[in-house]
Symmetry: C2
């Protein structure tokens, strides 16, 4: 299976999550991140996600794709996700940025 | 220095590049990717970039941020970048997807 998210024709939304994990937190964070992904998957409007491993400084990128702003808002307000967000700020991340972006066009290459 | 790109207030654009490198190509591709980044940096309208390491399958995420669609188009048509795109399809990537997205809002956390 391709690791590239099977998103539909644009327009749809991307949530870009760029984060710096605090030193030594990866072991604790990784299973929770996997659990959060399963939670997101179950949400109405979730279209897919792409992540890649953190670099040696702890920096990671996570993309999730959504049908519309309403589904992003509902995910943001999910009670387990909100708890994770609080814990993220208190314990896991030294810094992060969330960007909400409307995907206007896309193009693909397959060899 | 924070690895999170110091983008201005939205709106601005993100180009999301999700790619699968063919097996054994990382050594050849990595210096060219670094060279391409320097080339992008010199372009009018370039606001920053974020990348993280490829996973063991060769999947990688690269984000670049741009002031407007015109600057993205000019970068897409850069002669060295076009040569790299051709080489990318012929030699480096088994698959990729490019998504052009308008960042409508963002929010940041710093501990």
């Amino acid at each position: 299976m391709s690791p590239i998210a099977p998103t539909p024709e644009p327009p749809y939304y991307a949530v870009i999550f760029t984060s710096m994990l605090r030193p030594g937190k990866l072991e604790e964070y990784a299973p929770l991140a996997a659990e959060l992904l399963e939670l997101a998957r179950a949400h109405e409007g979730f279209l897919g996600r792409e992540t890649s491993p953190r670099d040696e400084q702890g920096m990671g990128l996570g993309l999730s794709y959504w049908r519309d702003l309403e589904s992003i808002q509902a995910w943001k307000e999910d009670i387990k996700h909100m708890a994770a967000q609080r814990k993220g700020r208190a314990q896991w991340f030294s810094e992060y940025k969330v960007r909400v972006a409307l995907v206007q066009r896309d193009y693909a290459f397959v060899a």
